[in-house]
Amino acid sequence: MKKYIDDFTVVQNRRLNDEYVILTLKLDRELPEILPGQFAEVKVESGVNTLLRRPISIHDVDEKSREIKLLVQEIGEGTRLMGALQEGDTLNLVYPLGNSFSKPQTKEVLLVGGGCGVAPLLYLGRKLKEAGITPRFLLGARSSDGLIALDEYEKVGEVNVTTEDGSVGTKGFVIHHPLMRTDSPVYDHIYTCGPDAMMRVVAKYAGNHNIKCEVSLENHMACGIGVCLCCVTDTVDGHKCTCTDGPVFDSTYLKW
């Protein structure tokens, strides 16, 4: 897929809480095709430790209004600079990058997300819905504060949640949710994105039940386009670049 470098205009900065914002970015021409699971390399201003671009998943796409959304968790200087962007500001993106989630062979799918890993699942869910599949989301967080923008997910599919403190939904990790405790799961394809630890247990569960499982990794990146070889992950074929061979991998392909 062709990659672009474009200046987007921030048309909205929706603050969800202390930690999360959703940026809506508009392009002044038609958007190129963007697949669910792809990401952008975002240029923030050069602060002390923000020389490099920051990889951020495409959270949602609206071709008609030529807008994309980014869901950003502020964890350091770069993401904080994104969180501070205001309407009218310009943001330069290299995009769309990486492979994408595959099209399911089945109608029964589960989308499991945790933390800012929920970001790419919304656009994936929307695309699945357009293809006639109702996505079933399972979103986990430490507490209700971490469950963000549920309204958006609810518009697209069925939403299930877990919180570690039990403040909302099932208490515990995603793996403790009834959807993943059953021995006869109703779905046969899992898409997951979130903390490595979470994805590993999800992948293990999928393996045990012979369910196809695609995981989206968030390795540290320098270039995002396959030239620096910094973002590798260990696979059955050796080191592969998360930015070009991924970020989405079949869990059985990874040496986990």
Binding site: V227, C230, T233
Partner: protein, 304 residues
């Protein structure tokens, strides 16, 4: 009209701007962004005799205005390059140089022998300065006798342009530069990365799997400029300057300090179009300051 061409001891460049090894892939990764034939040259990824998996993840960390990498020369080996990459890139209308690395003199020799057969490859950049591998690599570039032995051996085999890439992790860079010139290097390029390290205070762990790695980006520019200046005073062969170049002004500074051409590395990650901007900016600088050719910039620093 400014004449941007540069004659690098026989190697003709359209303009003084090349892209640095390990930061521009094989060029193909950038064709979506711009016409890479506009470049003076492309130095492709570090290539070794055999396939190398490189170092474990994590391999990079950001530092104040710089980055550390510990890729460790991951590549599929020269034979794969010849069979799978070369056919794809050989007709790019720019100088495609292969960056060659090895753990032993024999490895360097064997790769050089194979590259010598590649009609469309006008030169080798001999990497005797990679800080991210256990054997060979930087070790060759940090002592005169070993630098001499590898350059001498490769020079006997390799007939086209031989650029030797120097390490900055050294007490006296001019000694090595002088020594490799004596062995018949056609040019030297510098600097490779400075050996550095980063620690995450919270997890108390090093940020790289290898603990130490190579520092690049704007942070190293003052060191790079200094070494380019020092080396250009003592060698007669052209010096290719790199290290932290982000803008045309940076590139001009390197040329004023003595570089005949420049390479752009880390900046490609931040702005894939940076090399074009640098080319245009060098031209604009020449126009503004009354230079009719870019090559006049080389060593044009005024220091009384």
């Amino acid at each position: 009209m400014v004449d941007l061409t540069v004659d690098l001891n026989g190697l003709k460049l359209k303009n003084p701007v090349m892209t640095a090894s390990g930061t521009f892939g094989y060029g193909t990764e950038y064709i979506d962004f711009f016409d890479i034939s506009r470049l003076g040259g492309i130095v492709v990824k570090g290539t070794t005799l055999n396939h190398r998996e490189g170092n474990p993840y994590p391999r990079m960390a950001e530092t104040p205005h710089g980055m550390l990498n510990a890729v460790g020369l991951q590549n599929k080996g020269i034979d794969y390059f010849i069979s799978d990459i070369y056919p794809e890139i050989k007709d790019y209308d720019t100088n495609m140089l292969i960056n060659v690395s090895g753990s032993t003199v024999e490895e360097y020799e064997e790769v050089a022998r194979k590259v010598n057969e590649l009609e469309k490859i006008p030169g080798i950049e001999l990497n005797i300065s990679c800080p991210n591998v256990k054997e060979g690599g930087m070790a060759f570039g940090t002592s005169c006798p070993s630098a001499v032995s590898v350059v001498n051996a490769v020079r006997k085999i390799y007939k086209k342009h031989l650029m030797v890439k120097l390490s900055p992790n050294i007490t006296n860079v001019t000694e090595i530069a002088h020594a490799v010139e004596g062995e018949g290097a056609d040019s030297v390029s510098l600097i490779n990365t400075l050996l550095g390290m980063a620690v995450d205070a919270d997890s108390r762990r090093p940020l790289l799997s290898t603990v130490t790695g190579g520092l690049s980006g704007p942070a190293v520019k003052p060191v790079a400029l200094r070494m380019v200046w020092q080396v250009s005073q003592v060698v007669k062969i052209p010096v290719v300057g790199l290290g932290g170049i982000m803008t045309a002004t940076d590139a001009v500074e390197f040329m004023l300090a003595g570089a005949a051409a420049v390479q752009i590395g880390t900046a490609n990650f931040i702005d894939p179009l940076v090399s074009l901007k640098v080319i245009d900016g060098i031209e604009a600088y020449c126009t503004k300051h009354g230079f009719s050719s870019a090559s006049e910039l080389t060593g044009a620093m005024i220091s009384e």
